[in-house]
């Protein structure tokens, strides 16, 4: 009897690493095709300008140029679609190549295709565009002000949508009876995702059979194919193959259908040669969807003991110049529905206005709406603690939703799955040694040192998402996931998953799942992702959904495989299928391990069906599509200890601690890695990142100006976990990818506010907290 050691839940080393550590990954820019041409885009330098004329004559004469196309050439092509339509949403045209006007700096107006990169770059400089510069608005808060330049015909005041959720009347009543109301302005600044690999595509049209193959840096190749083929270019889906090979990070920015791959896919058909485009980092800053960019007025009402009685939120959210693929969902359904947080809040109302500005379009960036919600709640509860002179840990404990295993209905539509918020927080306080810290802080304060601690107890909606629910809310897509399991005659297993790994390690975690379920060695399992030619339709990876949704789809197929295997084994063992159990890699008669057939034999029999059940099809391969019945809700508690340099305002992170509950853990090492990376991004938002526009020009347009955390800015993280399995999926997995990003920003900001409390500071409106900003805050403080 073969026993294979159980591997799910263990920190198994990653199977994908060997190729990455030896430089043998295949990223899009590594793919080589003979005859490839190179594309450079001519882009608007202006934030808002009418296109009067595009003169390509001189550029066309440049040696090595193969073709130049403008918007006028791209006939029969539709707008890049918006995949989430809110009621009343103004949907302006969004042509891949603008031909009437450019609406943000970086808007592409022409594609120059040449034999070499150099020639394309040189020729692009010769394209002469005659612009009529128009006034531009880039300030989110000012987008709908009277007199602001109108960006789109369909949106007279630059308003893309207004939306609300919750009970305004109940909130009004609650506020009237409240002992204390805290009102704050909160700016959640615009960010640039900046995965280390810039976006890239290679589009190749095969004249002989009319097939288009597109390699693209995508988190969801099927979505790319569907949107581009069906909605924009009008090509039948089955003639398009989209391959997202190794992709160097995404964080949301590689979800969306962009102009560039669409234009290249169109162009390759025109010139009948492959067309490659690889973004420069400058282009990435200018054209990758940006994140966040909310301006909020928040009010939290408390009773005299510090219990929250109501929350009122008014947010203006930037959409940018156009509606990116999922943009309207981010500041609405992914944000306001999380405003219940981990607290009991009897009355909540949120009103959101989406606005157009002459800036890069804004869409999901790691956390996508949930960081904005968590930041608001965590800032407000600590502001409330300051106002009520309560300890920030105590006020949270007073307000946590008590432990529950199966359902908690929030005031904002969502029903949480399972939670034990107090337990995670208690563990965190233990790790911090909280009372001791407050003692140390007091001593430090006596010496004039500015030492502070900040907490963040967060929750997020992951395992995105139940299709019918999101459909009723305006999503133009389902959010299920596919998983096909193919057992080969000789017993090896190939899994085709609609999930995509661009750093998440699915080749490892999914094979751990398969290995345990089938009792086979991990080495005999192959995970295939990223190719629409091989994989059934899937929605891809974002929203911390791959473990929960992708994993469950695979599990469902594995169970179907085992059920079929039982029928085959029953036949071989001359027993009834209901008497067969699958354990330790073999099918056996229940209670009789000696009466068994190994998995391998069943597999071979399926494909050589000589001694075989009547009426049962040969083969051993199953496909499943899993549509989750609910979101899943990871949660946790983070703490950050900072010291502020009085002279310079520099914030130093002294300690960073995290307790996260992602439900069951498939691979602790990988989950911890997700937390670490997210923390760095959350810290980045708090301390050094920020996409800044000045009169329509992106001032922070390179890595020389836009500061991302480097190794010397961060400490070793102290992490632990609690495990509260979700009842939503059979794996009990909630999702882990976005935890750190959501939790860290408020933890850091709260720590700085706490550090500056002796100066009378109880709130900071804006981020990042560069040293200069902190110093200015200190200088204008009351004490």
């Amino acid at each position: 009897m073969a026993t294979v050691e159980r591997v799910l839940g263990k920190s198994i080393k990653r199977r994908e690493d060997p190729r990455f550590i030896t430089g043998r990954g295949t990223y899009v820019d590594d793919v080589k095709l003979p005859g490839t041409t190179f594309a450079v885009f001519v882009r608007s330098p202006h934030a808002h300008a009418r296109i009067k004329k595009i003169d390509t004559a001189a550029a066309l004469k440049h040696p090595g140029v193969v073709a130049i196309f403008t918007g006028k050439d791209m006939t029969g092509v539709n707008s890049l679609p918006c995949g989430w339509l809110l009621p009343g949403l103004k949907v302006p045209p969004h042509m891949p190549l603008a031909s009437d006007a450019a609406r943000c700096a970086g808007d592409p107006v022409a594609i120059v295709i040449a034999e070499t990169h150099d020639a394309a770059e040189d020729a692009a400089e010769k394209v002469k565009v005659t612009w009529e510069v128009l006034p531009a608005v880039s300030d989110t808060a000012k987008a709908t002000a009277k007199g602001a330049p109108q960006i789109h015909e369909v949106a007279p005041s630059n308003e893309a949508f207004t939306w609300q959720i919750g009970d305004a009347a109940a909130v009004d009543t609650a506020f009237r009876g409240a002992a204390r109301v805290v009102k704050k302005k909160i700016v959640n600044q615009r960010l640039v995702a900046n995965p280390m690999e810039p976006r890239a595509c290679l589009a190749s049209y095969d004249q002989a059979n009319g097939d288009l193959t597109l390699w693209v840096t995508s988190q969801n190749p099927h979505v790319h194919r569907l949107l581009m083929a069906a909605f924009v270019l009008g090509i039948p889906e089955h003639k398009v193959r989209v391959i997202a090979p190794d992709v160097g990070g995404g964080f949301g920015s590689k979800i969306f259908l962009y102009n560039e791959e669409t234009i290249c896919s169109w162009a390759t058909k025109q010139i009948k040669r492959p067309v490659r485009w690889t973004s420069t980092r400058r282009e990435a800053f200018l054209t990758d969807a940006h994140g966040r960019d909310h301006v909020t007025e928040a009010e939290m009402a408390f009773d005299a003991q510090g219990k929250i009685v109501g929350l009122r939120v008014k947010t203006i959210a930037a959409m940018g110049a156009y509606l990116s693929t999922f943009a309207p969902a981010v500041p609405t359904y992914l944000y306001a529905t999380l405003l219940n947080g981990v607290y009991t809040i009897p009355a909540i109302h949120a009103h959101v206005t989406g606005v157009f500005t002459n800036t890069t379009p804004v869409d999901a960036y790691r956390g996508a709406g949930r960081p904005e919600a968590a930041y608001l709640l965590e800032r407000m509860i600590e502001a409330g603690a300051a106002a009520l002179k309560l300890d920030v840990a105590d006020i949270r404990k007073k307000n946590f939703i008590p432990k529950f295993d199966n359902g908690f209905q929030t005031q904002v539509a969502l029903s949480y799955d399972s939670g034990d918020y107090g337990r995670a927080f208690d563990r965190l306080l233990e790790m911090v040694n909280y009372r001791k810290f407050r003692g140390e802080q007091e001593a430090a304060r006596k010496q004039g040192r500015l030492l502070g601690i900040g907490f963040s107890t967060y929750i997020e909606a992951c395992s995105i998402a139940p299709s019918k629910v999101v459909g009723s809310l305006g999503a133009q897509a389902g959010l299920y996931e596919s998983g096909k399991v193919r057992v080969h005659p000789t017993g090896g297993v190939t899994v085709y998953t609609g999930s995509h790994s661009h750093g998440q390690g699915h080749e490892t975690t999914f094979s751990q799942l398969v290995a345990d379920e089938l009792g086979v060695p991990m080495e005999s399992v192959e995970i295939v992702h990223g190719d629409t030619g091989a994989i059934p339709f899937g929605m891809g990876t974002y929203g911390s959904r791959s473990g929960a949704v992708g994993g469950t789809a695979i599990l469902m197929s594995l169970q179907k495989i085992k059920e079929k295997g039982k029928k085959i084994a029953a036949h071989l063992l001359e027993a009834s299928p209901s008497d067969i159990e699958y354990t330790g890699g073999q099918f056996q008669v229940k209670g009789f391990p000696g009466k068994a057939v190994p998995f391998g034999q069943v597999a071979l029999t399926a494909y050589v069906p000589h001694n075989y059940p009547e009426g049962l099809e040969p083969g051993l391969e199953e496909t499943s599509f899993y549509d989750p019945s609910n979101f899943c809700f990871p949660f946790g508690a983070h703490a950050c200890v900072v010291e502020v340099d009085r002279d310079t305002g520099q914030v130093k992170i002294v300690r960073y601690l995290a307790v996260d509950d992602v439900g069951n853990v498939m691979n602790p090492m990988i989950v911890d890695g997700m937390v670490h990376g997210g923390i760095a991004q959350g810290v980045g938002q708090a301390l050094c990142e920020g996409a800044v526009y000045d009169d329509g020009q992106l001032v922070t347009g390179s890595m020389m100006d836009y500061a991302m955390p480097k190794a010397d800015m961060l400490p070793m993280y102290e992490t632990d976990r609690t495990v509260t399995p979700t009842p939503v999926n059979p794996l009990g997995v909630k999702g882990a990818g976005e935890t750190g990003t959501i939790a860290a920003t408020p933890a850091v900001m709260n720590a700085v506010v706490d550090a500056l409390a002796p100066l009378g500071i109880d709130h900071i409106e804006t981020m990042p907290l560069t040293a200069g900003r902190v110093w200015t805050i200190m200088k204008s403080a009351k004490r």
Binding site: T648, V699, T700, M704, D705, A707, A771
Partner: protein
């Protein structure tokens, strides 16, 4: 990301480099390339000719010569950072080199290239001024030496002439009883100096007075400058926390402070004062140590 086309020349002697400089219109000298090449990649610089000094003999090396170090202009920041001789006798120069850019940049970027480029936020200019580096330029008509006070003329503008090559930098050793320190407040993204101050002091053993002081300030303005006010407030005095604090108040004088996303004019001027104080305190400690 793709520079404009140019013609490449790799002379093997200063004489040949000078000939090329004289002959070729619209040319740039290429030293370590870590200021020029990034500019060319963004097409902010599009010289028709690039004259690579990488193969020119005799432009590298650190030698001692009569109370000074003679450093070849093409000596890399890493060689300056790791030089045992410099660390022993003028450690502040190695200390300054050690915070330029990052380790990979320091392996190729050169002391001469950086000082000739004179980025307003570069580190070494502050130390060059504080210590009184001397710049030896060679032209068709021969060599001339320019003092640090005459070297930094304006925004990325130095005293070097169009047809000259900076060949050598003379770094005077400090007299006995001296201490120097370079301190910077780095830009979180680029790691250039938002503010950088180099302070060098010499304390007379008998009197305890400061007999020599040099303070250079970089980063905040359009060029690195000598903090004359600070120096005047310290020269001849006994240095302690109070005198240093008072002198440091003048650190932003003469600096045309530029505001940007990292801070207001007020903040950056304040940083000049803070880092002047810190650099002076450290320099004093080293002088006394």
């Amino acid at each position: 990301m793709y520079p404009a086309a140019f013609e490449y020349h790799a002379p093997t002697s200063v004489k040949d480099a000078l000939k090329l400089l004289g002959k070729l219109k619209d040319s740039k000298l290429l030293a370590g390339g870590h200021s020029l090449i990034p500019m060319m990649k963004l097409r902010l610089a599009q010289p028709k000719h690039v004259i690579d000094l990488g193969k020119v003999k005799g432009l590298t090396g650190i030698k001692e010569d009569k109370g000074a170090f003679v450093v070849g202009a093409m000596t890399t920041h890493w060689d300056v950072e790791s030089s045992k001789a410099l660390k022993a006798k003028v450690p502040v120069v190695s200390e300054t080199a050690a915070v330029i850019g990052d380790p990979a940049v320091r392996n190729k970027g050169t002391i001469g290239g950086s000082l000739a480029h004179a980025d307003p936020a570069a580190d070494m200019p502050a130390t060059a001024i504080a210590l009184g580096f001397e710049f030896v330029c060679e032209g068709a008509k021969g060599k001339r030496t320019v003092k640090a006070d005459d070297w930094f003329k304006g925004l990325m503008e130095t005293a070097i002439k169009a047809n000259e090559v900076l060949t050598t930098i003379r770094i005077p050793m400090l007299p006995a009883g001296s201490g120097a320190c370079y301190m910077k407040f780095p830009h979180p993204a680029s790691r250039f100096a938002i503010v950088g101050v180099c302070a060098a002091v010499t304390i007379d053993k008998k009197t305890g007075n400061c007999t020599k002081v040099g303070v250079g300030v970089t980063g905040a303005g359009t060029k690195a400058v000598r903090a004359k006010g600070v120096e005047a407030a310290l020269l001849g005095k006994k240095l302690d926390a109070a005198t240093i604090e008072a002198a440091a108040q003048k650190a932003a004088d003469g600096v045309d402070v530029q505001a940007d996303l990292q801070g207001s004019v007020e903040y950056k001027a304040h940083l000049c004062r803070v880092f002047a104080r810190r650099a002076l305190e450290a320099a004093l400690k080293r002088a006394q140590g």
